[in-house]
Assembly symmetry: C2
Homo-oligomer: 198 residues x 2
């Protein structure tokens, strides 16, 4: 992705987070960026496409962070811990994107109108599903070998994912947040996720 | 609360959930109710007040369900389990209210303008805090006596609360859902909540 396009997405994520994707306009994004609407339309044909690209990139941030730690030879509890520890800093480092995703979870998503927007929404669902599947697989592997207790896997999966994503609701980036803070937070959530399944 | 007022709130919760509180109008609520706008304004002076009353009632549903099981003499893990088992059916039985609350968590809350609306928003924050405190207290008691492991209590509290509320995101009421379904779901989430803290 070009740097110019990336900057527009960052600005859009910030503005959609603050005003709500429903209420925010391309004008608001342009103002935040100190740019003309033309600069935005150069990369994104509509607000719907811009919103969809923000959501797609949110999943991408998490996916890229977790991918390198995937190793089917690791015990499931160790694997899950590593996935959570990779997930947290990636998500909190791109917080506005994930706040926008949350809006869409609670039914605030823009009605899609164009074929391009509908196709992007299908991509988002597929990306989200693929990411969830990484966690479903490790939980399922853990249940099969007795590392995790047997229970309804969909209920467990969604509860664990929401548990580790709780900081998306409360986290406010602060200058004084150190690497230690992020490590401690990630480890606490990884411990809780593994314990919840045992 | 009068039955007439309660019916308006139920309709508003449903409409705010479906259309988003930001996008929905008093007209939409009236249409859903098959009533005039006058009937709504008779009970609620503005959309802001109506939205605030929906949020207040959401907290009230949970509070009323959990209050009867509070017992400071119970061991913390048993107490937490009972609280979660009371919380789940209450929340899923008033789902639209809690979906609307979720919208406000992700920054979609209506800008408040009148003094009445601002005062209601303060009430909502206080109610929410009071409810969280019930869970904070039992977790804190559990950490003090060694039933739960020592860790950052705010991080633990918010993650556990979000974990048990995960069904608010995915649950779709269906005719075939039995009492057994609700009991199984509540017990699974109670087990996960207790395990996450141990």
């Amino acid at each position: 992705m070009s740097r110019a396009k990336s900057e527009v997405l960052d600005a859009a994520a910030e503005v959609f987070m603050t005003l709500g994707a429903e209420a925010a306009s391309i004008d608001d994004v342009a103002r935040h960026l100190g740019a003309t609407k033309g600069r935005i339309y150069h990369h994104f044909p509509s607000k719907g496409v811009l919103l969809a690209e923000v959501c797609l990139r949110a999943a991408d941030f998490a996916h890229r962070a977790v991918h390198p730690v995937l190793d089917p030879d690791l015990p499931p509890d160790v694997q899950l811990r590593q996935m959570v520890c990779a997930h947290i800093p990636a998500v909190l480092g791109s917080l506005p994107y994930h706040k926008v995703i949350l809006q869409s979870f609670v039914g605030m998503s823009q009605k899609s109108t164009t074929a391009l927007e509908r196709s992007l929404l299908a991509d988002i669902r597929q990306e989200r599903k693929a990411y969830e599947t990484l966690f479903r697989d490790v939980i399922s592997r853990g249940m099969a070998c007795g590392a995790f207790r047997s229970q309804n896997i969909s209920v467990a999966l969604h509860s664990v994912l929401l548990m580790v994503n709780a900081p998306v609701f409360w986290y406010q980036p602060r200058a004084e947040d150190s690497t230690d803070f992020m490590t401690d937070l990630s480890e606490q959530l990884a411990d809780m996720a593994v314990a919840a399944l045992q």
